[in-house]
């Protein structure tokens, strides 16, 4: 009860009127899940599910796609000679609407699939959808994991409080020292792309994935850590993504909660529907899933291109997997460090370039123009911003080193979890000092709040 009140208090403080929307989605979810559970026939269950999905998605669609659809349709009608228009609405996307909508949909579909019973206690459902550490930007949680924990008695657990604080500390480092620092360079270059040489554009393009990792990865750790302090375990969102050697592995390590959600509720039904087409059915399902993911990231054509590139890369990997496996076995490549490094670099480059399409700033022709400049105008020295580059490089080196050790030498170098008190406390202070020394404190927003 206290957590629910705290969560709504937190949400109302951001913008009171949007709390009504959250409450509306909660009420819809609660009513429909209980109706689905009570319905006798498969047909009525399906009808109720359809109703629930439409009603739950309505606010998200309205706020996210109203202007896109509105302008799109009336531009088309203009061509046919019909000059109609609806007013352009300057709507601010309610904070977290995507995230609680996805969680609500996931829970409703789980009830429909009989994977979880419909919850009778309204407070539990309301807390699940408004739980303040995750409501704004994820990780996108699942009902079975959260309901169980919310129903248990929350007790002060020293280990969890300390564990949570450590995650939060590292999350702040990733956000303030890494993401916000790199943002200075990236924004400086991309906001005036025409005035920068190709090598600057290349450098900024290569920094983008690290920036998003610092931003969303850091945010996720803060959210997970905050929940942990209160005794609630939330699913992880990133798992050292830059050590993935293929795109399919990358997508098992990057924004994990979103990908798992898309896999379960979009990709699986689609691939099931297309299963009679064998491999091509999977290719269609994959591409559609990522195009939908792109459309969710933003209502513009460039986001669809971003999604299509991901779908295409995964499809190619799937179609060539048998040959690649045979090739790797034949030359015994899998454990060779240079082969692993090649895979990591290739995957990183592919993702970094594809990410150029995944932003609000640039349209597809603009991105293509930037690519052209990168490949034709990179002989000059890049734009230098000494402090930003030095501090950004330092912060990145620290994050990279930590991830590298955890990836390849787990448990070998312990700092936050060292048994020795002095080492442990020194490392806390060291990170706190580094946050103040390298961090940016200008109130930068988290990138994913806009979703």
């Amino acid at each position: 009860m206290f957590l629910l009140a705290a969560s709504y208090y937190f949400y109302i403080n951001i913008k009171p009127v949007y709390a009504l929307l959250l409450a509306g989605v909660t009420l819809t979810t609660y009513l429909f899940t209980n109706l689905i559970a009570k319905a006798r026939s498969d047909r009525s269950k399906s009808l109720l599910l359809t109703g629930a999905v439409v009603l739950t998605l309505l606010p998200l669609f309205f706020f996210k796609y109203f202007n896109f659809v509105n302008e799109g349709i009336f531009t088309l009608l203009n061509y046919t000679g019909l000059h109609l228009s609806l007013p352009h609405l300057s709507l601010l996307l309610p904070v977290g609407v995507s995230f609680y909508t996805f969680m609500a949909l996931g829970y409703t579909i789980d009830v429909y699939n009989e994977e979880i019973e419909a919850e009778k206690n309204f407070g539990i459902v309301a807390l699940f959808l408004s739980f303040f550490p995750v409501v704004m930007s994820g990780p996108i949680e699942r009902a079975p994991n959260m309901f169980q924990q919310f129903k248990g008695k929350l007790q002060f657990n020293y280990e969890m409080v300390v564990g949570g604080l450590k995650l939060m500390l590292w999350g702040y480092f990733m956000k303030l020292a890494l993401a916000d620092r790199l943002s200075i360079y990236i924004d400086a270059v991309f906001k005036n792309a025409d005035q920068h040489v190709g090598s600057s554009l290349l450098l900024a393009t290569l920094m983008q994935p690290i920036r998003v990792y610092g931003d969303l990865g850091g945010y996720s750790l803060i959210a997970i850590g905050c929940a942990k302090v209160m005794g609630i375990n939330v699913i992880p969102n990133f798992n050292r993504p830059f050590f993935a050697t293929t795109m399919s592995e990358f997508w098992r390590r990057w924004h994990i909660s979103l990908i798992k959600w898309l896999t379960d509720y979009v990709y699986t039904p689609l691939s099931f529907a297309f299963r009679r087409y064998g491999v091509w059915g999977i290719v269609i399902a994959l591409n559609l899933t990522f195009i939908i993911s792109g459309a969710w990231h933003g209502a513009a054509f460039n986001f669809l291109v971003w999604g299509f590139i991901q779908g295409l890369a995964l499809s190619v990997e799937m179609l060539t997997r048998k040959n690649k496996d045979a090739f790797e076995d034949r030359f015994n490549l899998r454990k060779r460090w240079w082969y692993i490094l090649f895979g990591c670099v290739f995957t990183y480059l592919l993702f970094a370039f594809s990410l150029s399409f995944g932003g609000d700033a640039a349209t597809v022709p603009e991105v293509l123009h930037i690519f052209k400049r990168i490949f034709t105008d990179s002989v000059h020295m890049p734009y230098k911003d000494g402090d930003t580059m030095l501090y950004g490089f330092l912060a990145f080196s620290i994050v990279f080193l930590k991830d590298f050790m955890e990836e390849y030498y787990p448990g070998r170098v312990l700092l936050f979890n060292n048994k020795n008190n002095t080492v442990r406390w020194l490392s806390y202070y060291c990170v706190i000092f580094l946050i103040f020394y390298l961090g940016i404190f200008s109130g930068e927003q988290f990138v994913y709040f806009q979703f």
Partner: protein, 81 residues
Amino acid sequence: MNRSLVTEKLTAIFRTVFNDEGIELRDDLTANEVANWDSLTHMLMIGEVEKEFSIKFKLKELGKLEDVKSLIDLIEHKMNS
């Protein structure tokens, strides 16, 4: 069709779809233990199973599969009903 024949046919499908001739099916075998068994190949395997045993699954049924045993149980249940 008895259970051992179902297992035998299923083993052949697993070996082809997951590209590993060494796969031996056990009741408690799960996707985590098979290198190429992921969300992409899973549905390919399901499609092959449907073709081989001339059955049709429901999506809801697939969500409840936990291991090879539950898959064989479901195949037998579908073939007998």
